[in-house]
């Protein structure tokens, strides 16, 4: 069956998000709507200040929309839950008091999703997938940044969630490690076909990692376009798409001074 016939896994409808700072009420996104289907690599792309991270946090259940609603399999999202595992940008997302293996096992155990033996098997399996079997008994502070992000990905995938929410997971890595991690992520996807929402501000990363790309405008974030990414390895098309997205995102900033003059 075509996955499109089953209906969207995630349905975001007219979502306006606001949060309060010390002296302002900030509107992060304004009436954003999109659908994510099973096994999609859905990328939310936009310049800083377009509310993409806030949007991801709302899907994660950390904040409630001021307007509109977010439904996962038809159910309105009200609070955070292990069916939407998050991978954060920060390296301190692993629990420092647990070993790598225990970090992967912990959410399985507290959620009652697996017995200790099952959790151990699953942790071993997913750590092998991210090539970290050798580090299973180390504590996170002994790992490099890239390794920590791999553990976080293994931890999220081991839960076999409805979808993975990735908030610029590679942004704090050096360029070489980032490229390697992107390749590994795609390999993992080839293996398990998980659904993910991937937030990034890098156009190249969006085209490389995504199958479908949502473009947001800044201040507040509004949908600008939803595009299909190019096939992997089609570097000429990818470059053309990159240019096209670049033009779409930055057209306003180039036109603006002309309009004012």
């Amino acid at each position: 069956m075509d996955p499109l016939d089953a209906g969207p896994l995630l349905d975001v409808r007219g979502v306006t998000l606001q949060y309060k700072t010390r002296d302002h009420l900030v509107t992060a996104t304004y009436r954003v709507g999109f659908e994510v289907f099973a096994s999609e690599r859905y990328v939310v792309l936009g310049p800083s200040g377009c509310g993409k991270s806030t949007l991801l946090k709302a899907i994660g259940g950390y904040l409630t929309p001021a307007e509109g609603e977010i439904r996962l399999r038809g159910e309105v999202i009200r609070q955070p839950g292990p069916d939407r595992m998050m991978v954060f940008q920060e390296f301190d997302q692993l629990l420092p008091w647990k070993t790598v293996r225990e970090n992967v096992m912990f959410p399985l155990l507290v959620g009652g999703k697996a017995s200790r033996a099952q959790a151990e098997t699953r942790a071993r399996e997913y750590l092998a997938k991210v090539n970290l079997s050798a580090c299973a008994d180390q504590y996170p502070h002994t790992l490099s940044g890239g390794m920590k992000q791999r553990v976080a990905i293994a931890r999220a995938m081991a839960m076999e969630p409805a979808m993975l929410l990735m908030d610029e997971p590679f942004a704090a890595l050096d360029a070489l490690t980032r490229r390697k991690m992107q390749d590994e992520l795609l390999e993992l996807w080839d293996e398990t076909r998980f659904t993910m929402i991937f937030v990034t501000h890098s156009i190249a990363e969006a085209i490389k990692c995504g199958s479908r790309i949502l473009l947001l405008t800044p201040h507040p974030g509004q949908v600008l376009a939803e595009l299909n990414s190019t096939a992997r390895g089609a570097s000429a098309e990818a470059r053309a798409l990159e240019e096209r997205i670049h033009e779409m995102l930055f057209a306003e900033t180039i036109e603006a001074p002309v309009a004012r003059a």
Partner: protein, 292 residues
């Protein structure tokens, strides 16, 4: 116009890095002296020995056992006291009440901090109470405790709880507050709520601050207890270490006074260097949550 760039005429080249077997020593073990000097406990033991030696020499030079008995005389009194069972009984009396007060203080601090973490009014309550009571010396409450609870272990426990509760609650709370947003979000992502969230995420994440609070609380409790015993000392069954010191002062048995003080110091050293150090080594040091 810019001048055309001068290309360097230096040639490119490829090098062949030497094989690892060729350059002999990469890691060399440290010498015996360096290894010994790296053990903190040995360095500290050396300091203690030097201090004891200075004491012994100065006391012999002074030659006035009423003012300053020698180190050896003090150790002799200490050993006799321990062997006779009197000093041991006094230590046990002190430790017992100390542990009761310490445990009760920590339990109350846990309740107060949990309340402060989960509600805003609890937070305000904790902040107000700690700023009121933390600067208040426990010993200043002793007259009041004597009126309320009489001459006995209850009064001691009361001032002990007061001395432990506030520093532990304050440190634990500031530890909770400083847990990173990412870790909080991770905990909630796992579906952890209320007490499980506090127990499984906040407490381990705030452990460095909590251990600091426990250490300060222990030092305050120990100090308060000895002082309180010095003031009124006798619980119904017999006094503790503070009373032992006071009693021996009254009978001018000065080596025993020093033996009592030495005991207080030694218990402090043991708890700090063995109990808390082991706790830190097993937890925050192992987890890389501390830099020292």
């Amino acid at each position: 116009m810019r001048a055309p760039e001068q290309r360097p005429s230096r040639p490119e080249y490829l090098a062949a890095p030497a094989d690892a077997t060729e350059f002999g020593v990469v890691e060399k073990p440290l010498s015996l002296w360096e290894t010994v000097a790296n053990v903190a406990i040995l360095r500290k033991a050396a300091i203690l020995i030097v201090l004891a030696l200075l004491w012994e020499l100065y006391a012999r030079h002074l030659d006035n056992p009423l003012l300053l008995p020698t180190f050896s005389a003090t150790v002799h009194a200490l050993v006799t006291g321990l062997a006779g069972g009197e000093l041991a009984a006094r230590i046990w009396t002190s430790i017992k009440i100390l542990l009761i007060g310490y445990a009760a203080g920590i339990a109350l601090a846990a309740i107060l901090t949990t309340f402060a973490t989960t509600t805003r009014i609890g937070n305000d309550l904790l902040e107000t109470l700690t700023s009121m009571f933390n600067p208040l010396p426990a010993i200043a409450l002793l007259p009041l405790a004597l009126i309320w609870f009489g001459l006995g272990p209850f009064s001691l426990a009361f001032v002990l709880i007061h001395s432990v509760l506030w520093p532990v609650a304050l440190n634990t709370h500031s530890g909770f507050v400083s847990v990173s947003t990412t870790l909080r979000m991770v905990g909630r992502n796992y579906g952890l709520r209320s007490l499980r969230y506090v127990g499984l995420i906040l407490i381990p994440a705030a452990l460095p601050s909590i251990v600091t609070g426990l250490k300060i609380g222990w030092a305050f409790a120990w100090r308060t207890l000895i002082a309180a015993e010095l003031v009124f000392g006798v619980a119904s069954g017999g006094g503790g270490l503070g009373w032992f010191i006071l009693e021996n002062k009254n009978t001018l048995d000065i080596p025993n006074v020093f033996a009592g003080l030495l005991t207080v110091i030694m218990i402090g050293l043991v708890v700090e260097n063995v109990v808390f150090r082991t706790l830190e080594a097993r937890t925050i040091r192992r987890w890389g949550m501390t830099t020292t």
